[in-house]
């Protein structure tokens, strides 16, 4: 059954300060008011009659305050309300953080990208969220605020279990911070879905590699293969070893990597895919990552208005 609009109360604060004060007052003990950003997740729930919350705090009016993408000497700070259109159109993001640009281009279609925010993607915490492996692989930090102050946490500490977040109901995510990667870092992003656009991922992967003759540092993250988007720590450890020569041609290393990634993930059957396919695809992505990253950028950076 469809949601009934007249049953939903909405408050639209004028600015961040007002929003945080309101949340501190109303949500300090329990979540009474649910945050509404671009609504591309929540409105779907509402339309399907599945929205559990009857009181929403509409932060869309805070966009001017929270949508800036700012570069500094050390990296970038992306406002939580930057849309995927804004992120993919940012030249600096394309240049320095191509995995995030690629992920932004693959979220839904244009209509969804125009409204869906990165903060919403992070807080919605779908294991399939496309920007999440990219952010994890870049060691992103989240800036979280309440009316008393702010805190900064690595995004890996934000996800504690399926939709179980390190976030109090009185808090808002205000921005995401990413440090520049070392010069020469290779970036890798791939989404496996039913069709090219407007399809939720069956598996999504992001990674980075540093090093010329052997791997100095590597990150590899997967989505849709566990209760949260995850870092493949065992795989990373396996690969960070001076004996692994670059470029990787040694079949035993590749096979070892394919084997190791299975220890990092716990894929399940669901409406979009099966456990066995996800396992198979994850191993394929690991091999693709290892064998193709040293070719010129695999990320298709297209110029789009």
């Amino acid at each position: 059954m469809r949601g009934i609009a007249s049953e939903i109360k909405i408050l639209s604060p004028k600015n961040l300060k007002e929003a945080l004060q309101f949340l501190s007052k109303e949500n300090s003990s329990k979540l009474h008011w649910k945050v509404l950003a671009g609504a591309t997740d929540l409105a779907v729930e509402f339309n399907a009659g599945k929205l559990k919350h009857h009181q929403l705090i509409n932060i869309w009016p805070l966009r001017q305050e929270l949508n800036k993408i700012k570069f500094s000497k050390t990296g970038v700070t992306i406002g939580a309300m930057a849309t995927f259109t804004e992120i993919q159109n940012d030249l600096g993001i394309n240049k320095y953080f191509p995995n995030l640009a690629a992920a932004s281009r693959l979220v839904g279609g244009v209509q969804i990208q125009n409204r869906g925010t990165i903060g919403g993607n992070i807080a919605n915490a779908s294991p399939a969220g496309d920007s999440l492996p990219a952010l994890l692989a870049y060691d992103a930090l989240l800036n979280i605020q309440d009316s008393d102050g702010s805190r900064k946490i690595p995004i890996t500490e934000f996800y504690r279990g399926y939709k179980d977040l390190n976030l109090f109901p009185r808090e808002l995510i205000v921005s995401v911070e990413i440090e520049f990667k070392k010069h020469g870092t290779r970036h890798y992003f791939r989404k496996v879905g039913t069709r090219q656009a407007q399809a939720i991922s069956k598996v999504v992967a992001a990674g980075t590699v540093q090093g010329k003759t052997s791997i100095q540092a590597v990150t590899f993250c997967l989505g849709s293969v566990g209760p949260t988007p995850l870092r493949c720590e065992k795989l990373e450890k396996y690969l960070t070893c001076p004996e692994v020569e670059l470029p990787i041609r040694d079949r035993s290393v590749i096979d070892g990597a394919r084997q190791t990634v299975t220890l990092d993930i716990s894929p399940q059957d669901d409406i979009r895919s099966t456990k066995s396919y996800r396992l198979f695809a994850s191993q394929g992505l690991v091999e693709d990552f290892l064998t193709s990253y040293f070719r010129p950028s695999r990320i298709f950076i297209k110029d789009r208005p």
């Binding site: 939903i8 409105a43 509409n58 209509q111 969804i112 297209k302 208005p305």
Partner: protein, 164 residues
């Protein structure tokens, strides 16, 4: 709550629940039935309208989020009987069959072309770019080929209206 916005250059003030879908406000309160409901889940793009210069799915927009916005629906594309070049092209080259997806496709295309022109000037977008721009719009009839053809024809040669 009171919502004020501009639709197709006309100012409106409505008294509706803030969670009312923009799609319903347009269709039920303003009688603008160009935007269609295909899925109600953001998947099909039949409800596409342009809000403050960006194409969005009106089935996913609570009306409180368009306070003071400027909106364009398919009804605002043509001026009276005079269709736009794009609309002419769709009618001429089979880009529209049953027509359910057409308002959304026209608006998504028009929005894409306007933004493209702003950024790229006279350069003509290729098929890949057009496909990407229309990825959020599903069509059950045309198989898309004629939609892309109509867009490309509109870009290449301004189709001549066939009028007696």
């Amino acid at each position: 709550m009171k919502i004020q916005f501009t639709v197709n250059k006309k100012k409106y003030s409505l008294d509706v629940s803030p969670m009312t879908r923009l799609l319903d406000a347009l269709r039920n309160n303003l009688g603008l039935t160009g935007a269609k409901e295909g899925c109600g889940e953001g998947e099909c793009g039949a409800c596409s309208v342009i809000v403050d210069g960006e194409v969005v799915n009106s089935c996913l927009i609570p009306v409180c989020q368009v306070q003071k916005s400027t909106i364009k629906t398919v009804e605002g594309l043509s001026s009276g009987e005079n269709l736009t070049v794009l609309q002419e092209s769709f009618t001429r080259f089979g880009g529209a069959q049953c027509g359910i997806c057409t308002p959304g496709i026209l608006l998504a295309t028009q929005n894409f072309l306007d933004l493209w022109k702003k950024k790229k000037g006279g350069k003509v977008p290729g098929e890949a770019e057009i496909r990407e721009a229309l990825a959020g719009n599903l069509c059950r009839c045309t198989g898309y080929t004629k939609i892309f053809l109509s867009v490309k024809k509109a870009l290449r040669n301004t189709p001549r209206p066939e009028r007696n």
